[in-house]
């Protein structure tokens, strides 16, 4: 009994398989024969196509994102490289500018040196006064270069000051705007003489009589009296004149021709006996 039922099941299975195989074969033969894209194809295509479309879109999106990311990386690298190049060229440009500025400055100094009584010495300022009360600078030339106390210091623009102390390789310059500085000067237009003193920031001219002709804008130069400064070096221009009721002298304020905040190089006028009066 059991064997018969098992055989019956096997026969049914074979029949079902044969039926399905026959149907598939008929479908294949009919499709190949008629070349028809029928409903199952279309259905399958719809399902797979949708999946394909979805995957393609995601893939395309991912690809685009990746591409953009890689491009971004490339752009970033390029940006960094270009920035570096820009910095490099800026530095080169600055060097060129600085070289040109130095060249112009040194050319002016050279021209100035030619007008001064020889010999002269160019020095670089390496230090400024640390206190607020005094105006001195330290230069990179000293007694081994022939610098001595009393020697005048100038720039292209005018008087800077004079040497007060010197060591073998360095020297200290008392700037003309220091309250302790006093320089014999004259008004270029009228040849009126006086003493130019510093007030910490600018100058004022002392000992000019009230009846002397002084006007705003007049140029003040060194008089050469006293033998410290050569004659005719610019000191500044008159910025304010006041004749007070009391006293014999005028109150004259002077705008310095030298910008003391931008001093870099100065010229030391070398003299055999700088402190000789």
């Amino acid at each position: 009994m059991r064997k018969r039922s098992k055989r019956t099941k096997q026969i049914k299975g074979f029949l079902l398989f044969g039926l399905l195989l026959t149907l598939i074969l008929i479908l294949i033969v009919s499709v190949v024969g008629r070349q028809e894209f029928n409903a199952p194809h279309k259905f399958a295509l719809e399902v797979l196509g949708s999946a394909q479309q979805g995957i393609s879109r995601v893939s395309a999106s991912l690809s685009e994102v990746w591409q953009k990311y890689s491009e971004l990386l490339r752009v970033r690298e390029e940006n960094l490289r270009l920035r570096e190049e820009l910095q490099k060229y800026k530095a080169i440009n600055n060097e060129y500018r600085e070289a040109v500025a130095t060249n112009v400055r040194l050319a002016k100094l050279l021209a100035m040196k030619e007008t001064l009584p020889a010999p002269t010495l160019t020095a670089e300022i390496i230090g400024m006064d640390p206190s607020q009360w005094f105006k001195t600078v330290i230069i990179d030339r000293g007694s081994s270069d022939g610098v001595q106390a009393g020697m005048p210091a100038t720039t292209v623009d005018g008087v800077v000051g004079q040497v007060v102390n010197a060591s073998p390789h360095f020297a200290k310059i008392l700037l003309a705007n220091d309250p302790n500085s006093a320089i014999d000067a004259l008004i270029q237009r009228t040849r009126v003489q006086g003493i130019v003193k510093g007030n910490g920031a600018a100058y004022y001219m002392d000992y000019v009589l009230k009846n002397s002709d002084v006007q705003k804008g007049d140029t003040i130069v060194t008089s050469g009296i006293g033998g410290v400064f050569p004659k005719g070096i610019p000191l500044g221009t008159v910025s304010h004149v006041e004749k007070t009721r009391r006293g014999m002298f005028q109150k004259i304020e002077i705008e310095p021709s030298t910008d003391f905040s931008e001093l870099e190089y100065i010229i030391i006028v070398m003299k055999k006996d700088p402190l000789a009066k």
Binding site: I126, G127, M128, D129, P130, S131, Q132, W133, F134, T136, I138, V164, N165, K172, L174, D178, P179, N180, A182, K197, N199, G200, S261
Partner: protein
């Protein structure tokens, strides 16, 4: 060791003041760091070491500043002894007292320099620039606390290094034995 280190620190500060700080814009202020160090020495070191350092810093200042040799040593020594006296009677080592201490000390020092310079050169007219002085006072009062902390850290560091030094001679317990 501490004296040498503080002297080196003072020298470096002076060099910075004469070079780097002058490159800063004027409105930024140029703090007188060496002055701060003198105040620190006066309130933290003993008389002999402190007085020696104050004198040395004054001599150094004379080299770089002004034309009157001897002005800064006198002013710095005066400041040192006044602060020594004050620090012995008042508790000025706390941070809250250091700011007014530095401000008043700076004004006293500036006044002394002004007074001495006027006496030494009566023919010259010195100008008291309130704007610059107030700016300097404010800057010094602000930076004094971190500056003093830095100095204390250096001293502590040097003391620790000294204690760890294996070549340091160990004193015996008996002071009569050499």
């Amino acid at each position: 060791m501490v004296v040498s280190a503080l002297f080196l620190l003072g020298t470096i500060l002076l060099i910075l003041q004469t070079t780097v700080l002058h490159a800063l814009p004027e409105w930024f202020g140029r703090p007188n760091l060496l002055f701060l160090l003198v105040v620190f020495i006066a309130t933290n070191l003993d008389v002999y070491k402190g007085a020696m350092l104050a004198l040395l810093f004054g001599l150094l200042m004379d080299i770089f500043s002004g034309i009157f040799l001897g002005l800064h040593p006198i002013v710095y020594l005066l400041l040192f002894f006044v602060l020594q006296g004050v620090s012995r009677t008042l508790a000025i080592n706390e941070a809250v007292h250091q700011m007014p201490l530095v401000a008043l000390s700076y004004l006293a020092t500036a006044s002394s320099i002004y007074l001495f310079a006027t006496i030494l050169a009566p023919e010259s007219t010195f100008y008291w620039a309130w704007g610059n002085e107030i700016l300097q006072v404010l800057i010094l009062a602000i930076i004094c606390i971190p500056f003093f902390s830095f100095c204390k850290w250096i001293i502590a560091l040097l003391n620790d290094t000294g204690k760890r030094n294996p070549f340091r001679r160990q004193k015996s317990g008996n002071r009569y034995l050499s």
